[in-house]
Every structure is written in structure tokens, then in C-alpha cells.
Symmetry: C2
Amino acid sequence: MKLNIAVLPGDGIGPEVIAQAVKVLKAIAMEYNHVFTFQHALVGASAIEKTNNPLPEETIDICEKADAILFGAIGNAAFDLDPYAKIRPEQGLLRLRKSLGLYTNIRPVIAYDDLLNKSSLKKKQIANTNILIYRELTGGIYFGEKKLSEDGNTASDICEYTRFEVERIAHLAFKAAQSRKRKLTLVDKANALESSRLWRRVVQELAPQYPNVHLNFMYIDNAAMELIMNPRQFDVILTENMFGDILSEEASVIVGSIGLLASASLGDKHAMFEPIHGAYSKIANKGIANPIAAILAAAMLLDHFGLDDEAALVREGVDKSLKLHITTPDLNTKYDNITTTKVGDFIEDFINNPDETNLN
Amino acid sequence: MKLNIAVLPGDGIGPEVIAQAVKVLKAIAMEYNHVFTFQHALVGASAIEKTNNPLPEETIDICEKADAILFGAIGNAAFDLDPYAKIRPEQGLLRLRKSLGLYTNIRPVIAYDDLLNKSSLKKKQIANTNILIYRELTGGIYFGEKKLSEDGNTASDICEYTRFEVERIAHLAFKAAQSRKRKLTLVDKANALESSRLWRRVVQELAPQYPNVHLNFMYIDNAAMELIMNPRQFDVILTENMFGDILSEEASVIVGSIGLLASASLGDKHAMFEPIHGAYSKIANKGIANPIAAILAAAMLLDHFGLDDEAALVREGVDKSLKLHITTPDLNTKYDNITTTKVGDFIEDFINNPDETNLN
Ligand SMILES: CC(C)[C@H](C(=O)O)[C@@H](O)C(=O)O
Ligand SMILES: CC(C)[C@H](C(=O)O)[C@@H](O)C(=O)O
């Protein structure tokens, strides 16, 4: 298969972890005789630095022409501390999602047996957790009209949703539930928000089309508690943009490190794959960033094109690295000096030689 | 001291748990020669049932004249499943907060030594956690303009904040931090929301007035993770209405049961005290609802009037009930048949006779 992949490393640890994901994709291409080409482009704070634009035209162009996009992370501490900045790194990501129409963000949360003891949660609480979060990604409060009064003393954001926006992702979430444990939980705040009541109505109306899916509803405050108290009750979670942001980052505690969670952002024409973690500028360039989330994002990219064996091989490599403790310090307790690159190298070697790879 | 207390039991388990809190306050009044009078009023689904109004005029009137309000819980399953209802139980609570100007909601999250093993989190993760959440309660997306298009296909909510609204609660949170571990964390989503950037700006501007308080910032998604990964890093958390709702319910996993968390809602003229849990209609009238949160809400009421010894005695009673496992099934593993009333009775007996109370 020929794939033209746009690579947007972004800021902070983005470039380091994306380099490992690219390395892994190259190994897969070699092993399976695919032709993957990679085109790098700027986004975020590093794009602002060079072009004064968090999402240069050229980047949009490269992404639009690509078959898929591999995205790193954006943001940095200077911008975090400057709530006055008009041009912001995050705009790069948000505008990209919007302009490519990536309305469905899928975030798998799977407890690894080998990592159960890394979690802040008790083992028996999390074993066998397997949740798929469907987060709406191009609507809601991130994208509604924003206002700041002239005197700077009043600020507002609008959270708006249309039936159309809810329906298209809800169908996908119902279908995903059908192919899994047939349980769908809509998370909203229908007791306080009009937009949430629209979500609840639309999802209730679609339910009869999926009679074998058990549908239930949960308020976001309650869901934030239940996700930790009893994560195994969830199969597919469907929710709006900001609630999905909150729940999926919270869910990383189940897995043990946010450095392990990847996501796919899908639209009708484009597909982007990224780790869910941020840019963590503080630990950038130290060789300690966990590349697994980025590598699993690459596996989701392979899934997307039906390259099942290839994706499975990448995941086996990840599993093996975890089992052998070839992991960065956020997870590692056994060896020192396992760098970001070393984890990538290990998984690359595994792909080249699945039966022989060991720590060396 | 003479106190006229408005009692709004509300729906579901509200009446059962509030009955125990009133019992405890009566015991305190007896023991310390206070004159507490209690005036009951309707709110929520039970008010809708009787008056078709979730917050009858009479209720507002009683609350306005009272020195303090003790509130149970509102909502029920029928309304939760009906996103079409125009009159809703929650309006009772939201309008009450707004009309009494209760803009500061304070939610303490304290890990009880005797309950460390009840939490989903590992003991070593949570021991000594002591967080005070300052949640803004009368602004933000709950109260901004709501719209539903005529065809019912587009719905929106506005999240608006003014400098004034942020300043008044921020000062209180800074002061609380000064009297504690001198750490204040503002939780917002300043990388995506204009209203959050206003919060960040205003809080940054106030900071020089509190030079001994260490101020830091966290995005809500990240905070939802950090609260579980490393709860001890927090001292006082300050945040807007909806983020506070989410974080404080999530924080209940640290304490082991949401049945243990109480809150105070304060304005310039009025003060209301309530458990943070909801109405849980499912378990209503079974005698299994945990009354501790309601009883701790009563203790916060006593705090509010400077009745420190009285509040301390109530808390000692709660501690003793936990130590002796006189607890409802959500916590209890030792005895069967410890009902809601039995827990209240035990704490009442303890107040009457602190040195002699034991399970009988
Ligand atoms: C950077 C930020 C705007 C973004 C979001 O909230 O969507 C990030 O947290 C994410 O989840 O991808
Ligand atoms: C009932 C609901 C509207 C309310 C809220 O979200 O404020 C509740 O969850 C709470 O926290 O008191």
C-alpha cells in the first residue's frame, strides 16, 4: 500500500515521540513492502516562532493532500502563563481539526495486565478495563463564538450543538458498541445545559435503530466519579467535546500513564492520529518522554487503512517492551537509562525480528 | 445562640439524610443551650409535584428570612430520562443559589484515616489528602443564556464571567490558602476558552496581594488526572462553576464515598449547607442512604456561626461512627443492618454522652 503521511511533530516532546512513531512506521513499510512517504509540516508554538501563525497555509495544504496525518503535541509554558496572547499554539490544533472536519475523536482506554500495579487505582478495580471514548471534536464550547468586552472585564464562550453534529458521531458510537460489549453511555449535563438536552434527545431517538445496544445516561460530574470507582461498567462512552477532553485525560490514571494513550480523529475525508498527552515542554529534549502513545497512534493509523497484521505487530512490540520493562522513567522501575529513542529502537527491532528481540 | 434554620429536604434520599442532620443539630442545641428553630420548605421534584414549581415563592421567602439553610438533594429518575421537560427539579436548586446570591461553594475533601482502604485508590496515594475546593456557584454556563431553535435542532448555552464575579471568590480562596498550606491552584481551560483566560488574568492580577501564597494553574483535563494521580499536591483549588462540579464529585473517590462530602454555599447575606451527593431516588426509603454528608453539612453550618466546639463535637461523633463501623452499607463491611437512622442515632447519643457511646 502507498500512503502519504503528513507529519506534524509540533512542540515540546512532540518531535521526540513522533520520531519514534515514524521509525516504527518505516520498519512496518519495510517488513510488509508498503510505500510510506512522510512530509513534515509546522504547527503550534514552533510554527508561531517561524511564521507567526500556529497553522500556516502550507501545513493545511500538506494535510489536505495527505492520506493521513500523524500529530505530536502543541503548546508551551510561556503561552500557558500568558492569558493575553492573541495568537496561541492551541489554535493550530483546533483550526486543523475544524478545517479538516475531524469530528470524531476515538480514544481507547485499555488496562495493560503488565501495568496494573503502575496505576494509582487498586489492581482489582481496573483489571480488564476496556473503554472506547467517542469524543465530538469540532463543535461545542471550543468553537462557539467567543467574546471579550472592550474593557476586558467580561468574557464569554458559547457551547452550541446541532442535531446533525450529534447524529453523525452518535451513529458511529452506536456501531462501535455493536461490535463490542453492546453498551453505550452518553455523558452530558442534561440537568443544567440546553445543549446537553439536545444530545440526550437525539441519542434517545437514534436508540431504536440499535436495539441490541444497551444505552444509558450519565451526568458528567457523576461520570468523573464512576470512571474511577467502577471503570469496568463502561464499554463505549459518547460525549461532547469538552467533557470528552476531561474524561479521556482522567481515564489515563486507569492505564497508569498518560504516555500510553493514543487517539484517532476522523472526518469524512481526513484522518489524524495523535497521542492524547500534551507538549510537556518541561521534560522536552531530555530523552525521557514516553513514545508509546505516539507509537500506538501509528498503530491506529495502520488500523484505519485495514492493515490489521501490521497494527497487531506494532502492538505486540509495545506489549513486549512493557513486559520487559523497556520503558521510560514514567513507567520504568527496573532499568535506568531507557530513553525515548531506546524504546523506539526496541519496537523497531521487534518489527524487524519478532522472534528474537530482547533487551541488549 | 438563636438560629432560625430553613430545612429543604428535597427529593430522593434528601429527606432521610436531612432528618439525621436535624436530629444532630437538635442534640447540639440541647447540649449547648442554643435555640435552633427549624422551618421546612419544598424544593425540587417534590415541590413540582405539589405546586408545579421547583422553587415556590414561599420557599424563597423562608430561606431569605432564615439565618441558614440546610439543603438535601434534588432530582429524580423520571426527569433524568426526560430531556423535554420544561419544568425541572434542578431549577429549584439553581434558582435558589442565584436568588440568594450564594456565589461561593466550598467543598472540603479530606481522606479519613479509618477509611483509606475503602477508596478505589491506593492507600499510599491518598493518605493525608486535605483539599479545599472553591467552586464559583452563580455564574458560568449554568446561568448564561440558553437557546433552543424553533425546530429543536440547535441548542446552545453561554458561559460568561465578569471580573467582579471572579475577583470576589478569588479573594476568598487566596485567604483560605493563607490560613492553610499557602497553595492555590486555579483550574480552567485557558487554552481554549475566553472566559477561562479572564479567570487566569484576574487571578494573576490579584496574586501580588497575597505574596505568601504559591499560585499555580492547571487545565481542567489535566486537573482531572492529577487529582487522582497525586491528590496531595493540592491545597486550595479555585475554579468556575461547572469545572468545580466535575472535580468535586470526582474527588469523592479519594474519600471513599460520595456519601461523606459536605459543602457550604455562601453569599454576602445568606448561607446554605448541603451534602454534595444527589437524590439517588433508586435507593430512597430503604434506610441505606449514608447520612454522614448531611451531618457534616450541619457541622459546616455550626462552623459558619463560630460554634467551633459544637462543630468539633459533631465531627468527633462522625469519626467515632466511622472508627466503630457504625456506617451504612456503602462503607460498612463489618455489620449488617446499620441504617441511615442508626447512624444518626449513634451520633446523637455521642453528642449527649461523648464518653460513653458505643454500639448497642
Ligand atoms: C490543547 C487542547 C486545546 C486540546 C483539547 O482540549 O482539545 C487537548 O487537551 C486535547 O485533548 O487534544
Ligand atoms: C443538580 C445539579 C444541577 C448540581 C450542579 O451541577 O450544580 C449538582 O450536581 C451539584 O453539584 O450541586
